[in-house]
Symmetry: none
Subunit: 191 residues, 2 copies
DNA sequence: TGTGCGTTAAGAAAAAAGCTTGACCTTTAT
DNA sequence: ATAAAGGTCAAGCTTTTTTCTTAACGCACA
């Protein structure tokens, strides 16, 4: 199936699965279409799934007490997203995951993933390796946030992810980088 | 606290609570902010709360097999809403409650309400009286639906709730009155 | 057998979202 | 002390999305 091509490729970059393992894995995937501005995860409901984007884009953000949004994930094709805390602990989510475009996502339930991972060693390996890599990136981002200026962070992101930067609304990027939209506007006009 | 003013006033229209009763009541209220388009209740999840709107607006609707939406409640400030069946019976909801605007709501859990009502007579009275009044209105609406023409229902609603009619999208009102949006458009142009 | 209302499709109108700019303020690193 | 960096607020502009209207057509039923 074509929709699975991306995610199977993603896995293949880390481990090798047998035909039957691939079949089993595919069997736990739920295909879902969401429309722009639709919430896939929202506060109050448990984030049941790990989500993989086949097509489209999504952001995950937190709404603070002052009503300010803090984007923690900007995801496009071939990326995963979820409210990880909620997903792992089965507690109500505290984040929103919102489609930035009409999107096609693959969803896998916590229990199904756990069950498969407990039986299929290489799949477990895959999630471990991939998650570790994500962690490493996450640290990098934290460091960047505390040590660099707004302008540096902005250009760093734009250079690293030019396709994403031009695809998502500026205020999303702003809330991801911890900069005001106005400042981004000024940074851009300076160049 | 200012956010409680509305709901305490609502209660005061029916019964009188002592200071300590008010305190107890307030202690079971959870303040929640929701964003436009966010679902507060969703099919598949138990509607845990009775919800009171401090600010904003919400609609409750049913999605039929043909994908058509039937709005059963349009609620603004000082109104309550929930999927009542789900709330009372602790079964998965069949309705959506969706914020039409960014809103601030007060939520009270079923168990907490029951517990308080079992101890505080006037609070129990309040919910009884208020619910009875809602029931009476509900019957009225049913009768209106079966005995009046689209046009009559439309004007009836607009006259009774002009603020709401001008505030919510017409297609919501249409799906509440059981009229097509196009017909509403024609009704309006006729006047 | 015409009136009332639904459906579909297209366009117009209105509203919301997104971006920019200026004025002004606060923090912080010289 | 003060300049640079970046935040906030408010206003205005542009673009996109949503909502409303209208026309054409069909069906049911009084």
């Amino acid at each position: 199936m074509n929709v699975y091509k991306g995610i199977l490729n993603h896995i293949a970059r880390y481990v090798e699965l047998s035909e039957s393992e691939i079949k089993e894995f595919i069997s736990i995937l739920k295909t879902t279409r969401v429309k722009k501005r639709q919430f896939i995860v929202q506060p109050g409901f448990v984030s049941e799934y790990r989500n993989y984007i086949v097509e489209g884009s999504v952001r995950v953000f937190y709404l603070d007490d002052l009503g300010k949004e803090h984007t923690v994930i900007i995801a496009i094709e071939d990326w995963f997203f979820t409210d990880f805390y909620s997903y792992i602990h089965r507690t109500p989510a505290e984040y929103y995951a919102e489609a930035l475009e009409d999107s096609l996502i693959l969803q896998m339930k916590y229990e199904d993933v756990e069950e498969l991972c407990s039986r299929i060693h290489s799949l477990s390996q895959y999630f471990r390796l991939f998650t570790e890599r994500s962690m490493a990136y996450s640290y990098k981002r934290t460091i960047s946030n505390i040590s660099k200026t707004s302008e540096e962070r902005y250009w760093e992101y734009v250079n690293k992810y030019p396709q994403i930067a031009s695809r998502v609304p500026q205020y999303v990027l702003a809330s991801y980088l911890g900069i005001s939209p106005e400042s981004i506007s000024r940074i851009r006009s300076r160049s």
